[in-house]
């Protein structure tokens, strides 16, 4: 198992006339988190299903640790599907053991792994998954089922973890906890592919990103570089009045009014001072800041290009 944990080269997949994934390339390093980002229906899940061998690509190359992504090598991948599935009448413990054994763990190793990961998933002030072991899956809450599914993904210590929309249905406490787990995975050298449409979560976790739109990668690379390479320049303005006098013109490309202020995207080569100048003439400026573009901004920029 040498080589990058995951490499996609010019992968395409069509369903009838629709091109779900169009010439997508992607590389994932060990010990890094890569965000596969994009709106719903942009081809994220199709890409992941091809990596997991559930769908076959029409063309292109998929490699796991340098080997073709098929057969036994997939057992080193931990996969959390977007549509979660557990056997409702099995007990949590039996189910976790089943997941571990599916990934070729011996019964003893499976038991150790279940105990260890149940411990790790004990959130502060909440019952540890260990206390649900004897309960049937159908008796658990949605969030608890999600936790069980996630533990099942990690039991066999995968070198590559693929999480498809892992934040969906999680409350803020569990979301925070999941971020901790993802950071832990990254620190222990695991490569994580995080598919989500929640840009703010990706922004907090990802080293690299791949923004997809209609199956095409519209923007990819290290998050920091992507951001600094962005031509977008944004200004956050707060005033004692609603800055409704700002409208797109030769300086301003786009204005978004937010409660007591505005997020302003400047045109290329425009001077931010011009905007400040205009604002001062219309009222008291409480805050004026040139900010880094968010992933949302980058995405909109990339798509509109």
């Amino acid at each position: 198992m040498t080589g990058l944990p995951l490499v996609l080269e010019n992968v395409s997949k069509s369903f009838g006339p629709t091109r779900a994934v169009d010439n997508l390339s992607l590389a994932l390093r060990a010990g890094s988190v890569c965000g596969l980002l994009g709106p719903n229906g942009s081809g994220k899940t199709t890409t992941i299903r091809m990596i997991m061998g559930i769908l076959l690509p029409d063309s292109g190359d998929l490699r796991l640790w340098g080997a073709p992504a098929e057969g036994a090598v997939r057992k080193h991948v931990g996969y959390l599907p977007e549509e979660r599935g557990l056997y409702p009448t099995m007990t949590v413990f039996d189910h976790l053991i089943f997941f571990a054994e599916l990934h070729d763990l011996s019964r003893r190793d499976a038991k150790d792994a279940v105990a260890e990961w149940s411990e790790r998933f004990a959130t502060n002030g909440e019952s540890s998954p260990k206390s649900w072991w004897g309960r049937r899956v159908q008796e658990l809450s949605k969030g608890q089922q999600q936790t069980v599914q996630l533990i099942g993904t990690l039991l066999h210590r995968p070198g590559l973890v693929i999480l498809d929309e892992p934040f969906s249905g999680l409350d803020p406490v569990h979301t925070g906890h999941l971020r901790t787990i993802i950071r832990y995975l990254k620190e222990s050298g695991v490569a994580v592919l995080l598919s989500t449409h929640r840009m703010e979560q990706a922004e907090r976790l990802c080293d690299d990103i791949c923004l997809v739109h209609h199956g095409k990668a519209v923007l990819s690379g290290a998050l920091r570089e992507v951001k600094s390479a962005s031509t977008s320049r944004l200004v956050e303005l707060r005033m004692d009045r609603v800055p409704d006098f700002l409208e797109p013109d030769d300086t301003i490309a786009d204005v978004e009014i937010v409660s007591d202020g505005a997020r302003i995207r400047l045109r290329e080569g425009a001077d931010a001072q011009m905007v400040l100048d205009r604002a001062i003439r219309r009222g008291r400026v409480l805050k004026f800041e040139i900010v880094e573009p968010s992933l949302d901004d980058l995405f909109i920029e990339a798509v509109s290009r």
Binding site: R49, M52, G53, I54, L55, L56, G71, R74, K75, V77, Y79, P81, E83, R84, G85, L86, Y87, P88, T89, M90, D94, F98, F99, E101, L102, H103, D104, G152
Partner: protein, 416 residues
């Protein structure tokens, strides 16, 4: 394909099936229902009979009435005669009165014997409502005997001597097989039919369970994780093996009960059938049963793989059920002539072989070599079907909401 994931999936499937309440209930209930359905009619007949029947007879011949000794001598369990036979004058008036009395339930039945009865004129038997067929047979037999005796006597023959000379001969059938003790063919036939019935019932039941289990995996979406870790073929083998073993467990429990009963009550019909079954080669029997079981289970799994809901699968399983039914009826009709060309040829066709080859082998028509050839065919077909079903399953896995058409299934098979 690896054995470990197959076993992991099979074990989960097995435990999930055996642990359910319905498994326990069925294990207890089915022998109970079968026992009751055999015992109840016998019990009912016994409980119903002890009423005395009043039978009126108008006899124009003058031969019959006094000779109905066999009916008069019959007694009820309480020692009273079963039939009270009353004479009715053979006049038109008396006859029509007697018929009225039957309608009024004063008589249970009224028989009119015309003067020409000995020469073939019918005896008319009037009963109140729909008659009990057994009783009619019984009474008819008595009248028949009396009238035949009358005929013989008229020809100057001694009825006792005629009946002694025309009694049936004995006819014992013994099937010989090289290297095996001769056994009565009757026993082997009974055993083969009993096994065919058992196989039919358990295959329909557990085939449907395999199908459901496949559909449920799709419905509960567990399938996405399963197929991303194990190959679809491994998954199919695991499912068929797990459900199959749970079925064999249930059958094993029933067999143990039957064995217990036949040891406890060696004279019962159950014990006799069991001994007959035991007279057929046990290893061959188990082999054909188990392989046949898995063959049909894989077909049912295939139905599950192209469906998305249990209702849909229930409709689509009809062809498989029909195939099974044909095999079953062929076996039952084949018992009459297990050496016929049709049965011989069909006993090599994998879908019919489990039942038909078992039958032919059981009655000594087929050799170990024939059995081995047909067994190999069954196993090979099962492997091919399970692999194909795995492929269909793999492609059909993400189909929800719409059942695959036949052309789509064929395309999937080519592509996967």
């Amino acid at each position: 394909m690896n054995a470990k994931p197959v076993l992991t999936i099979a074990r989960r499937e097995y435990i999930a099936r055996v642990k359910t309440k319905s498994f326990v209930v069925m294990t207890v209930l089915i022998p109970l229902i079968m026992g009751t359905s055999i015992a109840a009619p016998m019990f009912l007949v016994k409980a119903e009979s002890p009423r005395q029947r009043v039978l009126a007879v108008a006899d124009e011949t003058g031969l019959v009435f006094d000779s109905l000794r066999s009916l008069r001598e019959e007694t009820l369990p309480n020692g009273k005669p079963r039939y009270l036979i009353e004479r009715v004058a053979a006049t038109p008036r008396a006859v029509s009165d007697a018929r009225r009395l039957v309608e009024l339930e004063a008589y249970d039945a009224f028989a009119f014997v015309p003067a020409g009865a000995v020469d073939g004129l019918p005896v008319t038997y009037y009963t109140n409502g729909v008659p009990n067929p057994q009783e009619v047979d019984h009474v008819r037999g008595a009248f028949n005997r009396v009238l035949i005796v009358g005929r013989l006597a008229r020809e100057g023959l001694d009825p006792a001597r005629v009946s002694a000379l025309t009694r049936s001969i004995r006819f014992d059938v013994v099937a010989l097989q090289k290297g095996a003790a001769p056994k009565t063919a009757q026993a082997a036939f009974a055993a083969a039919v009993a096994l065919a019935i058992l196989m039919y019932i358990s295959l329909t039941m557990y085939g449907a369970f395999t199908m459901q289990s496949v559909v449920n995996d799709k419905a509960s979406r567990v399938v996405e994780i399963l197929v991303s870790t194990v190959s679809p073929t491994e998954l199919m083998y695991g499912k068929i093996l797990g459900t199959g073993c749970s079925g064999l467990t249930q059958l094993g429990i029933w067999m143990a009960v039957i064995l217990g009963v036949s040891i406890g009550m060696p004279e019962s019909a159950l014990a006799k059938t069991f001994h007959a079954v035991a007279g057929v080669s046990i290893p061959a029997l188990i082999l054909f049963f188990v392989t046949g079981f898995f063959l049909y289970a894989s077909l049912y799994a295939g139905v599950g793989a192209i469906c998305t809901t249990n209702e849909e699968a229930g409709q689509l399983q009809l062809p498989v059920s029909l195939l099974l039914m044909v095999a079953f009826f062929l076996a039952v009709s084949g018992v009459n002539d297990p050496g016929s060309t049709l049965i011989t040829v069909l006993s090599y066709v994998p879908f019919f072989a489990p039942v038909l080859m078992m039958l032919r082998f059981g009655v000594g028509e087929a050799s170990w070599f024939d059995a081995a050839v047909s067994l190999a065919g069954i196993i090979l077909t099962t492997a091919i079907i399970a692999t194909a079903v795995g492929k269909i399953f793999r492609v059909g896995i993400l189909m929800t909401g719409k059942r695959a058409s036949l052309t789509e299934v064929l395309r999937w098979l080519r592509r996967a």
